[in-house]
């Protein structure tokens, strides 16, 4: 089958799975709803469609559950896409979206604002709607600054060797870890909130957050998709890629910038949700193969499905566990399972 056809077929199937997951997970909660009612409520909320829906059901679905589920989908999509790009970019199976310090950088901004609220920038509002809170803006900004800093540190004479980038990322993350610890020492009564943020969470979500992360995906994902072939060629090694017509350094800079943007927006609204961006691309690579023209869209969609499902597990608990705990608790053993079966020894 041709690559384009395969990509479309897989994407369609996973989109279907995502819709099913969204509807299915919306039925789960303190009050159980049946899926037909949920589907009707969701369709009713869409413009130009109208269904007969009970007022309480509408409130539960549209105002309470759906923002969180959609945010899970959007964040999962972003992390799945960025993780795929980073693993291909670094030709390293342990790469994830945060490898050049995006998450740690976001955490510095977030924890700083939580510990010292006076630091918070004003929230961003467009036409009267809040697009991002001060906390999110701070996290987003420090994430971008960190990634750009790592890139600058690793760049010499117009070249950015991948290995240097990796090591610079590790060093900068370690340093920022110290900064975060120091800030937390002085967080006082905000400590709990800071810890909670760092665990990765989707509670208290709003459509604003969905819009913020969704916007970055709308801008970034098509660009990543456009570079899927170049990413394939880059996997052969940078010299080979050059010989095959890929302007290596420019392509690397674009891939890095866009996946950083997408990751930073996701992390800013959800905190550090680990393992989605690491494990989802691996699993999808086993299923659809290494061709990024198929792997990238499918990993993004699978990331969305995965996070919607795991967040439902987190949400179903009475004490509202941060989803980061669930993804790591489920993801790591599965990853080890793949590792033992020698499925994940290489890209």
């Amino acid at each position: 089958m041709r690559t384009g056809t395969r990509a479309t077929a897989w994407s369609a199937a996973l989109t279907g799975a995502l819709v099913a997951a969204v509807v299915g997970c919306t039925t789960v909660g303190a009050v159980s709803l049946d899926s037909v009612a949920v589907a009707k409520a969701i369709l009713d909320a869409l413009p130009m469609l109208s269904f007969q829906v009970e007022a309480t059901t509408r409130t539960i679905v549209v105002d309470l559950r759906l923002p969180r589920i959609l945010l899970a989908a959007v964040v999962g999509f972003a992390l799945g896409a960025a993780g795929t790009v980073m693993q291909g970019f670094f030709r390293n199976p342990m790469a994830d979206p945060s490898i050049i310090g995006v998450s740690t950088g976001a955490a510095v901004g977030a924890v700083a604002v939580i510990a010292v609220p006076a630091l918070a920038p004003p929230s961003l509002a467009v036409a009267g709607f809040t697009v991002a809170s001060g906390l999110q803006l701070a996290a987003f900004t420090t994430a971008l600054i960190t990634a750009f800093g790592v890139y600058l540190i690793a760049t010499e004479g117009g070249r950015t060797p991948v290995a240097t980038l990796l090591l610079a990322g590790v060093a900068v993350q370690t340093f920022l870890g110290a900064v975060i610890s120091y800030l937390m020492l002085h967080a006082g009564r905000s400590l709990e909130r800071a810890v909670y943020w760092m665990m990765g969470h989707l509670h208290a979500s709003s459509y604003d957050q969905v819009a913020f992360a969704g916007l970055s995906i709308a801008v970034g994902f098509p660009v990543l998709l456009a570079f899927a072939s170049d990413l394939n060629v880059l996997l052969l090694g940078e010299e080979d890629a050059h010989h095959l017509g890929v302007p290596v350094e420019r392509t690397k800079a674009i891939l890095l910038a866009v996946s950083t943007l997408v990751t930073a927006a996701a992390v800013a609204v959800s905190g550090v949700i680990g393992f989605v961006g690491l494990i989802v691309p691996h699993v999808m690579r086993l299923i659809v193969g290494p061709d990024h023209r198929i792997l990238l869209p499918t990993s993004a969609l699978a990331g969305a499905v995965f996070l919607v499902l795991t967040d439902t597990v987190a949400r179903a608990r009475v004490e509202q566990m941060p989803v980061g705990i669930v993804t790591a608790a489920l993801g790591a053993p599965f990853f080890l399972f793949l590792l033992r079966r020698r499925e994940v020894t290489e890209l």
Partner: protein, 412 residues
């Protein structure tokens, strides 16, 4: 027409000068082999030609344009590269890897055109990788992988093909096959430059060779001219002799061990064939100054003698020796301290009879076993194996200077 023009190129890597003002030109439709010892700069020169490495000084022109000014897309439509290290650490199928050769021609969102698919199919057919097109590139053998990469380079459909050690990981027959294929592609109009470790293969398949040593091109031109014993010996910092391959007629290079301190004493060798050739080589190696003859010009031993720089008495094949030849033989035998018989040779009775019976004679074992050669007429004959040849010859010389020898071996 000159397709690749390397002009005064200097490259330093990590502070070491790897290429030092190298200039060379590759004409369209030529197959040029880059030869030279390890670290001579072959790979660096190829990388400079492909534009992946910017020279510190000088320029490389491809089809009239400075390669540094070409975008990677433009240069990838002119030059395809088969790198030395073809290992890949991911699970693309062979076909997917070959398809990547079409990357320079693809628009960002368009899929492959029908042309692309046809070109990929043809490339796979040509290099004989179609059989395992669906297998993962990580699971095929090193040779198959190399061919897959070669197919990828073909799919790039470029006028220039650069190959870095294309035969390094292949077994003997595949080496020849690969180079023959490159040769064919050149006949079809491509221009190829390959770094080749094996001098014999380089000589056999290339139109021209460029010998690199210490970051400079020390010789270039047709193989017969570049592969000269002294030039090669200097470049490779060792001792090598150049002969001619019996089957292909191409020059062949053989490395020799360092010559031992030269010894006094002249040795004349009588015999033909491989045994005589080997005998000559051992004597030269041991530091003697042998001569050989009479021997037909086309004999293997005559080839060896030429390669080793050994003076030869040439005889016409299938004819009895004329007076001039016999006189020359007498002169050599007279000057020699010892005479060595090695290898079978028809019609040597006449030669043997000319020699004085009291000369010390060494017979290489098989020569004695081989035929009814009347060595019995000599008073002092030592038989020896090839391995003990040097000692036997040295012993015979000592006995000559002493005028007597108590350890004679009678020969039947």
């Amino acid at each position: 027409m000159t397709l690749i023009d390397v002009d005064d190129v200097s490259v330093s890597l990590a502070g070491t000068t790897v290429l030092d003002e190298v200039s060379t030109a590759v004409r369209e439709g030529q197959f040029v082999g880059l030869i030279g010892p390890n670290g001579a700069g072959k790979t660096t020169l190829l990388r400079t030609m492909s534009g992946v490495l910017d020279p510190d000084a000088g320029r490389v022109g491809i089809d009239g344009d400075d390669v540094a000014d070409l975008s990677s897309r433009e240069s990838s439509r002119r030059v395809a590269v088969v790198p030395q290290d073809t290992t890949v650490s991911f699970d693309f199928s062979v076909e997917q890897v070959v398809e990547m050769g079409r990357h320079p021609y693809r628009s960002r969102f368009g899929g492959g055109s029908g042309d692309d698919r046809r070109i990929v199919r043809d490339a796979m057919q040509r290099v004989d990788v179609a059989r395992f097109a669906d297998r993962s590139i990580g699971s095929v053998s090193g040779g198959e992988r190399q061919r897959a990469i070669l197919a990828r380079a073909l799919a790039q459909d470029t006028p220039v093909l650069l190959l870095d050690e294309p035969t390094a990981s292949l077994d003997v027959t595949r080496q020849v096959e690969t180079l023959a294929l490159v040769r064919e592609l050149v006949e079809d109009g491509k221009t190829a430059v390959a770094a080749i470790h094996d001098l014999d293969l380089a000589a056999r398949f290339c139109d021209e060779l460029a010998l690199l040593s210490g970051g400079e091109i020390v010789a270039s031109g047709p193989p017969e001219r570049v592969l000269d014993g002294d030039t090669v010996s200097d470049a490779f910092d060792g001792r090598a002799v150049v002969g001619r391959d019996a089957i292909t007629g191409a020059p062949t290079v053989r490395a020799l061990p360092e010559r031992a301190a030269s010894r006094d004493g002249r040795v004349h060798v009588i015999g033909t064939g491989h045994e005589a050739a080997a005998t000559l080589a051992r004597l030269v190696e041991a530091g003697f100054e042998p001569t050989i003859g009479p021997i037909p010009e086309t004999d293997v031993a005559a080839e060896a003698a030429r390669a080793l720089g050994v003076e030869t008495v040439v005889a016409r094949p299938f004819e009895s020796l004329d007076a001039g030849t016999l006189a020359e033989l007498d002169r050599h035998v007279e000057a020699a301290d010892t005479t060595v018989f090695a290898g079978a040779g028809a019609g040597f009775e006449a030669v043997i009879e000319r020699l004085d019976a009291d000369r010390p004679v060494v017979a290489v074992e098989d020569a004695v076993a081989d035929g009814p050669r009347p060595l019995g007429r000599f008073e002092r004959v030592r038989t020896t194996t090839l391995d003990n040849l040097t000692d036997a010859v040295a012993g015979a010389m000592v006995s000559r200077s002493k005028g007597a020898d108590s350890t004679l071996t009678p020969v039947e």
